[in-house]
Amino acid sequence: MVEKSSVNRLAIAAAVVGTAILAAVPLFVAGYGISSGITIFANVALATAWAFFSGPTRYISLATASFVGIGMYTVVVAGTVVPLSIALVLAALIGFFIALVVGLSTLRLSGVYFVIFTFGLTELMFQLATWYEISYSRRLTRFMPPNLAGLDSAVIYEILLFAMVVALAATWYVGRTRLGQALRAIGEDETVARHTGINTTLVKVFVFAVASAMMAFIGGTLALRLPYITPSIAFNPTWSFQVLIAALLGGPGFFWGPAVGAIPLVLLSDYFAGRFPYHFSIALGVCFVIIVYLIPGGIAPRLAGWYRRLAATEGARQIRDRFATLRHDLSLWRRTVLRPRLRGVRRKAPPALQTGDNPAQVPLLRVTDLRKAFGGLVAVRDLSFDIPKGSIVGLIGPNGSGKTTVLNLITGELVPDSGSILLNGEEIIGAMSYQVNRARIARTFQLVRVLPGMTTRENVALGRMFGSDPVTASAASKEVNDLLERVGLSGHAGQFGAQLTYIDQKRVELARALATHPQLLLLDEWLAGLNPTELKIGIELIRQISREGVTIVLVEHVMEAIRALCQHVVVMNAGERIAEGTPAEVLSDPRVMQVYLGEDDAAA
């Protein structure tokens, strides 16, 4: 870790120096250089702002031009009455709030709806602006207010440089916070994100609004170069298109990716627009298709690969060692000369553990008359059962009897038609999945859901960073190691979810669930598919977890495990409870034998 952070410090220092040099350029250069700078900064900033939201979440936004246009109109209209700085802040604010509205109406739904909505947003804004101008102001052209017209282009250059640095820094910084991990988890698998305690809607809408605010700010600045604006100049879909290409060419998975893509694109389109103005959009369209086919993921991952290979060479190692020594000396100096500062202090104390006043009488979970129908199919029919605190309860029944539906109803993935689910005597129906998770109910999925593009460690850490008692990534580290050790994954910590075997993926899921600190753990056929030795280890692991005070619901077909672990078993068939009791009782019940084996075999 020492080496990595010294490289980071070096990169930050280089970035600061680079920014200072760029900021000083207008002192020595004028004309074409400045105007190239403006175009490049604007494109890099917009592409980075686009990837700020769309990169990690993989929600494709085609609405960049809408926010650019909103910024332009804000500056032109507000610029007559307030100073430029306030007009630009206003542009960002308006962009933010419009994005909130758009986000709230579409981001709750699947990604396709978001694409469709943003696809038309620019056209919609264009139409609204045209309609307003024609009906009320009775002219389509708005001239730049005199105090802003003819602004020195060096000023525009500096503002856009600022915007670019802010966009890059924000993307870089957020990428290493809990918020960044939450965004990545949403992009990988939104259901898992919700079940790990992430308020996905809030995260998505907020980040989308921040990205849009940046775009509106940049758009407002770009307006300063124009003598006048019309609806078709402000809401020009080419912005959405060009920014998207830049981000995809560079690679939205890296914070510096869109920048890498934007620079060649600006140069190329300058060349093209000059020579073949009419073929410009065809050329861009073809570029687009080529990128999707030939460089999916963009240039950035390839550059990163080359860099890693370069960094592995002997020469690079020596340079690194030298920097490490330098850094060591520096830190020694800081620790002895400067005042030492506290690190990793937790912001808030963990909430006190809820201790039921009367555990014998109030069950941890009480399900009463639960009902859920899908069209005409009643998947869960008036089901009631209790889960006493500290117990291991088996929930068994033939395939299709509604077991997984029950788990989905408890975790808020589905909303029941009627009935109640009380956790420590409190109703949890209506709570969202992330809230249920924060109320300390965790689950694993029958069809394993490991986040494929995150490592084993990141998968598990996610649970600790959200869940009921969230901490930062670094604070989670030790506990994550322990959990990995516990489920037997220490050797696979750095492997990506997609590379793991099926059994190891199941282990990741269990560790991730445990990392959220559950009081109730719902295991959906977690033992299915294990070989006899693994089964023995698995049963022992569940017993161990139970001993530590976690209440467990075991949905399972492996009767050996049910017999070994459960004090109490609920048997379901066709959505109804058909038997209940100790494992020995229910497994010898003729009705249970009948549903498992069929009429004839049960009689025989």
């Binding site: 056209e123 998207l244 065809i282 050329a283």
Partner: protein
């Protein structure tokens, strides 16, 4: 008021027609094609050329437009989409790739039209006389578009319900993997459905060109309208698309009495309302 509603109905029928093709592409073949409306634009231009270059009945433009759109859409599916389908690790990644590729195609198609055809932007007169229905006057060219849309919509519904091809398509719409497991050639049939969708939007372009101005940039608006109608009607539901089209047409015509130039805003308002109340579409099952 009757005239307004009647005109809304007729406009809505035409919207239904525009959405039918996208419903085949998006609802059944599951490909979100953002370049969809560009084939509308080409269909409209071919009708215009049939009249202005060859002094033919503009509807004969369909003779060229329909097979051409069918072929191009089939090629798009076969040679652009199938490599992506094979490559994609999951459905979401595929959706994203398809969106990006068709967004690129949108600009290619539109750019080609801008370079070659932008000088020809025009409207023309065809069947431009009023027909009296229940005391209200409806232009004949619009009535024709409405009638064709109802016939094609009906034919599609019967095809999906009654033929083996249709059953296979419905199976694909519900679960492509399961459809493959029972011996349906999913890729071949999806390609056909996608191509058929392209042919349908070309027909709409030919018909609608009889009463709108044709220009290189009109495609995107029709893609949007079609998308909104398909979502409101419930993806894959042909009857739903026709009904949603009529709903949109009537709402638009009525609202335009009060504020003209806001068609898209009205469409969006309806879309948002539906998404908030019934995200699966007004006419979807379950």
């Amino acid at each position: 008021m009757l005239e307004v509603i009647l005109n809304g109905l007729v406009l809505g029928g035409m919207y239904g027609l525009i959405a039918l093709g996208l419903n085949l592409q998006f609802g059944i073949a599951r490909m979100l094609n953002l370049s969809y409306g560009e084939f509308f634009m080409y269909g409209a231009f071919l009708a215009l050329f049939a009249l202005t270059w060859y002094q033919l009945n503009p509807l004969l433009g369909a003779v060229v437009a329909v097979p051409l759109a069918f072929a191009i859409n089939w090629l798009i599916y076969r040679y652009l989409f199938q490599p992506l389908i094979r490559r994609a690790p999951n459905r979401d990644a595929l959706d994203a790739d398809i969106v990006l590729v068709t967004f690129g195609l949108l600009f290619v198609f539109r750019g080609i039209a801008e370079v070659n055809l932008s000088g020809n932007a025009a409207g023309y007169d065809f069947l431009n006389f009023g027909v009296h229905i229940f005391g209200a006057i409806v232009p004949a060219n619009r009535l024709l578009a409405f009638a064709v849309s109802m016939v094609l919509g009906g034919a599609l519904i019967v095809m999906l319900r009654r033929t083996r091809f249709g059953s296979a398509l419905r199976a694909i719409a519900i679960d492509p993997t399961a459809a493959g497991l029972i011996g349906i050639n999913v890729q071949q049939l999806s390609a056909l459905a996608f191509a058929l969708g392209g042919a349908l939007i070309a027909v709409s372009g030919v018909l609608v060109s009889t009463f709108t101005t044709v220009s290189a940039g009109i495609g995107i608006v029709y893609t949007l309208k079609a998308l909104i109608i398909v979502i409101v009607g419930g993806p894959g539901r042909m009857g739903g698309a026709l009904a949603a089209g009529i709903l949109l047409g009537v709402a638009e015509t009525v609202a335009l009495q009060f504020a003209s130039g806001l068609t898209l805003a009205i469409n969006y308002a309806i879309l948002i309302l539906v998404l908030l109340i019934r995200p699966t579409g007004l006419f979807a099952r379950g």
